[in-house]
């Protein structure tokens, strides 16, 4: 899921609307301020029964339905463009497809570090891309070996892309199976 900038303000507005709605029902039942007696229900019923209201409701329903569908679908993750231009002198233009690097880095990390289930994803950073590798740690791992593997991987990427167009980030998650740290039984 993607995070959307519109989520926070829209959720605040909906929350306020729901609180007002619930407050109105409570006021109706318990009559805190006597506001319900002053409510002219006839005028509301006239407005809702009017001919124009049906068309207005149809229009509002259409707009709200489109908004709701957009709000649902906009959070589906989008693919990140794979090509990254490399700095080159002269008239040449060199681009690298980062998608081709990720499987190699995943395999390297899985081989060098005490981790498994390595997954990779890419995200844009300015003009370049950040490859985010995520892995489940082996509980028997020690910090030194993890650090060593991470540094060698970072160094190899930095060597391949000295201008920093592509960088790598490593996220270590807990072991996938909590029971896996028991010593295996040998029959």
């Amino acid at each position: 899921m993607r995070r959307l900038a519109v989520d926070r303000p829209a959720v605040i507005m909906l929350g306020l609307l729901l609180v007002v709605l619930g407050g109105a029902v409570l006021e109706w039942r318990f009559d805190f301020f006597g506001g319900w007696d002053r409510l002219e229900t006839d005028r509301i019923a006239d407005a809702v029964g009017a001919d124009w209201f049906a068309w207005a409701a149809a229009g509002a329903a259409l707009v709200l339905a489109v908004l709701a569908v957009w709000w649902l679908l906009a959070r589906i993750p989008r693919g990140v463009e794979g090509r990254v231009p490399l700095a080159a002198d002269g008239a040449d233009r060199i681009e690298v497809d980062v998608r081709s690097i990720v499987p190699k880095l995943r395999a390297d990390f899985e081989r060098a570090a005490p981790v498994d289930h390595v997954t990779g994803r890419r995200r844009r950073t300015g003009s370049g891309q950040l490859i985010e590798l995520r892995a489940n740690v082996d509980p028997r791992a020690d910090g030194a070996s993890l650090l060593r593997a991470a540094e060698s991987l970072t160094d190899s990427v930095a060597e391949a892309f000295p201008d920093g167009e592509v960088a790598v980030r490593l996220l270590i998650d807990p072991p996938r199976r909590p029971g896996a740290r028991k010593t295996p039984r040998v029959h």
Binding site: M1, R3, L4, V6, D7, R8, P9, A10, V11, I12, L14, G15, L16, V19, L21, G22, V25, L26, W28, R29, T41, A45, V48, G49, F53, A54, A57, A58, A60, A61, L64, A65, A68, V69, W71, L72, R75, T125, G126, E132, V137, P139, A141, D142, G143, L146, L147, A150, E151, L153, T154, A167, V168, R169, L170, L171, I172, D173, P174, R181
Partner: protein
Amino acid sequence: MKARDPRRLPAATWFGLVGALLLAALALVLGQHAAAARGWTGADSWLSAAVAALDDPAPSALVLACGIAAALLGLWLLVAACLPARRSHARATGRSDLWIAPRAIEALAADAAERAPGVLHGSGEVRRRRLRVEALLSPGTEAGVAGIVDRVGDRLSGLADLEVSVQAKEASR
């Protein structure tokens, strides 16, 4: 450009889904009213029925329950919209961009404690900058808590700068 720290999805993202469904429900009510008022369906309009019910001196129990639920859900939405996204991983030392989840630290610490002599079972818990290790010692062992602290510290060296405390308990025979 430096990438942002790894974080979980904020609660507002999940409540955005709830909000989208609420909007869809509102659209459904308005659309049903339009269809009923135009005579496209034979059913009565829900909105007109709700407006007619406004004349009652008090809401029915169902409406009251729905109102209370709406107010509580609204408060929940307001709180959730203001919560920041929590950090999911902590940065390790060194020049690489390596981040460790607290649960991973706990698993490593528990395994390290269990490999200390005389320890039957170990578990770890990370709270802020502290790592608390609980160890169950086999009865009669003279193994010291210092040994467990050393082993856990060695195992986590460079990964996290945590204050390690060990609570050891001797198993009953």
